[in-house]
Subunit: 112 residues, 2 copies
């Protein structure tokens, strides 16, 4: 069962990745996405991630990081960069937004 | 077809709402969610929204706003607040994060 990421008290950083998948290369995409998710989780400064995609291919993935430096390290990671040439085959389009999380609240109101 | 929100050049603000629906009151929830989405879109400072939920009830909704003041106005909106007493019936849990979007990029690399 997916759960909200257990992030610390703000401030921290979020990368919002909004994407529309093509219908191409489902097996290759899934394999790489799985590997990259594992790799991201092993990177310094990784705090968690949340991801969901609907049947039409519209997806939202939010990853959380403790600093902009950690996000930069992930962006420059060699295996992550290997996926870059595939973007035209895998995505109709995407938008990537880097944010500073200023405050957070939750229900039930228990600390993570 | 859902598309990434057409947001302006940063900075602007994002509210990341990560939630797990109960299985209760699907009709009531859907009706209220639809009304609140329309109402949010009519609020000053609203820039767009992206939302997706999987079959297990795990959902991500990100709304974009031009200022923290606009987010505060939306939070205090009376109709929005009417939904507050329903949260225990509708959600197993949720996490709400308010962020400042610092930078953005996209593919294909055309301005929105």
């Amino acid at each position: 069962m997916k759960m909200p990421a257990k992030t610390p008290a703000p401030p921290y950083y979020a990368v919002i990745f909004t994407s529309i998948r093509t219908k191409e290369d489902a097996a290759g995409y899934d394999a790489t996405a799985g590997k990259l998710a594992e790799l991201a989780a092993s990177m310094p400064g990784f705090l968690g991630a949340e991801s969901v995609r609907d049947a039409d291919g519209f997806g939202l993935t939010v990853s959380y990081w403790d600093s902009e430096e950690a996000i930069g390290n992930w962006k420059r990671n060699a295996q992550h960069q290997d996926a870059w040439p595939m973007r035209e085959q895998w995505y109709d389009r995407y938008e990537l937004r880097v944010c500073r999380v200023e405050r957070a609240s939750r229900f039930p109101d228990i600390m993570p």
